[in-house]
Amino acid sequence: MSETGSVSAFGDRDHLLLLLREMIRIRRFEEKAAELYSLGKIRGFLHLYIGEEAVAVGAMQALTSEDAIVATYRDHGQALARGIPPGSLMAEMFGKANGCSRGRGGSMHFFDAPRRFYGGYAIVGGGLPIAVGLALADKLQNRQRVTACFFGDGAVAEGEFHESMNLAALWGLPVLFLCENNLYAMGTALNRHQSQIDISFKARAYAIPSDSVDGMDVTAVEEAARLAVQTVRESGFPYLLEVRAYRFRAHSMADPDLYRTKQEIETWKTRDPITTFSGRLRGRGLLNESDLAAIESAVGAEIAEAVSFAEAGPWEPVSELTKDVYTAR
């Protein structure tokens, strides 16, 4: 039970409860998604974020609605924390036309133009150049926006990580590179895919400022993200933030999870970002059982509603299969 996490650094109790609620929303949303996957309501690949909720929730606090997000295939947490309605996400996973991508993307490809959520990318590393380009567009149009680009530790091995870091730094582009280091790329542990495992250190090869932070501690992530975003916004220069976390579930629903020990997973679970944070809040008298019950019940209702929204949603007509391959003229 970590006692190092700061609890009151970011404003008032309302904000702290918001952080907690946001993490719980993601957790419950995904537990429901897993259940619906078993029922065959959701298909394809499903990558759960459970255990990593503090990363997206902490990071999103630092961004404004003007900023842009580039996400990964593990994008439920990123999308929910960004404020995309859970109904729209659930409907997407059902493949319904009221989904955030009209049911065409599924779990891996959430898009939401109003919230500047530029998509979950399923080719590992594929989102980084996109983020560089979005930031370039901002720079060329003299907008003080930040583009936050999420990617995993596995993506760091891809050439595009290297190219994107170099280009963003060379051109002075406002990108927050946010590495969700959960110690595994599928079944391959960090030290078996990186010859040098300190990811934030790698930023020096590009003269990019960087930091790393405990991703199991939501306020620590928020603090680090605020500093990072502020640095990017003021300097117009990129920044690499490595957030060290752990996924409690398998890589995807298809993964038998044979490459790590139960013991390792259990040890990490003692650092569950939700229970440790709610424990800290409780310990400081900021949260009691009824607060938690209220949160859980509101979240439960929200998710039930999301499922109903998805269930009720229409299927895109087959006649529209090729619609939007090109813009209608």
């Binding site: 080719i123 596995g154 891809e158 079944g187 391959t188 490459y259």
Partner: protein
């Protein structure tokens, strides 16, 4: 009669890999998650335990480099088998494939050879959407200097691994991801099959259905339906997509006078177009009707099941295409 074993396509590939690893110390397997994880499709499950981490090598996410390293290792006297998890990620390695693997023997005036085997899963049908459902075998079949195999049966899934390793030049094996659970009987004592020949999977005199890989099942199904309509469909499984066994194609068309090509790729610029052109050039006078193509709709693959089904070839679409020729 040889003893056969019932196994899945997945197990058959593994059986081929195991035999190759046992019989030739130069053979090794590398790719993302082929070791500890057991392979994204569980193909290599157990191989790490049997052969150790020197020969079953997990790679970082670096497709261009681990494919290039496969080329280099082949140049250096090894017989690497590289697994690219799926064809979708092979785009990242295409420069190494087209510009190095395929050119080195010719460009060096015959001094160097690249006995490299690359395996990858391919195709759609699993609701994996636009970035995980490609069928790019046709692109690979365009490249001189490499060979392209597409095992459609459990037997070929095993045998083609062995056959590929006998080749002195780069061979690419495309395993359709929906086939992994398919069951069949395999003679594990059989040697490598002849990969220069297409296979006639069903005989018929009324129309030739030409296909490969993941579309063979749908095509067989369509042939069954057509039989009920008294149309005898001959089903050709191309097996090797480069070089094509054009003789097999032309001889069947010479008999049936009609042909439909079934290919999961997008229609425009598909391998199906090449087959159509080959028939145009080699059997024009034999044709009683134009060669038809059943391919995927020209759109990024949608996630939703009904849309994906509508996008892909199906037995019904094949039957409809055949009917249109009469």
């Amino acid at each position: 009669m040889p003893a056969t074993t019932k196994m899945t396509y997945r197990e058959a590939v593994r059986s081929g890999l195991r035999e190759a690893l046992r019989s030739d110390p130069r053979v090794f397997l590398m790719g993302e998650d082929v070791g500890r994880y057991g392979g994204a499709f569980a193909v290599s499950m157990g191989l790490l335990e049997e052969f150790g981490s020197e020969r079953i090598r997990d790679t970082p996410l670096s497709e261009s480099t681990f494919v290039g390293a496969g080329i280099g290792a082949a140049l250096g006297g090894m017989r690497p088998i590289v697994e690219i998890m799926t064809v979708n990620f092979s785009l990242l390695a295409l420069d190494q494939i087209l510009n190095n693997a395929a050119t080195l023997r010719h460009m060096s005036g015959g001094q160097f050879s690249v006995p490299l085997v690359v395996r990858m899963a391919t195709g759609g049908g699993r609701q994996l959407a636009a970035q995980h459902s490609h069928s790019l075998e046709g692109w690979y079949a365009h490249i001189p200097g490499i060979k392209v195999l597409a095992p459609a049966t459990v037997e070929d899934a095993r045998g083609m691994v062995l056959a590929a390793l006998l080749e002195p030049d780069p061979v690419f094996i495309f395993e359709h991801a929906t086939l992994y659970p398919l069951e069949g009987d395999v003679d594990e004592s059989a040697g490598p099959p002849d990969i220069t020949r297409a296979a006639v999977r069903r005989n018929g005199g009324g129309v030739t259905l030409i296909t490969y890989g993941g579309s063979l099942g749908k095509t067989q199904q369509a042939a069954g339906q057509l039989a009920l309509e008294n149309i005898g469909a001959e089903v050709i499984d191309l097996r090797t997509l480069r070089p094509l066994d054009t003789a097999a194609i032309l001889s069947s068309v010479g008999k049936t006078h009609r042909a439909v090509v079934i290919d999961e790729a997008w229609r425009t610029g598909s391998l199906a177009a090449e087959i159509s052109a080959v028939i145009m050039e080699g059997a024009f006078d034999d044709l009683d009707a134009p060669v038809a193509r059943v391919c995927s709709e020209e759109a990024p693959m949608p996630y939703a099941k009904h849309l994906e089904e509508a996008a892909l070839p199906s037995a019904d679409k094949i039957v409809t295409a055949v009917r249109s020729l009469f």
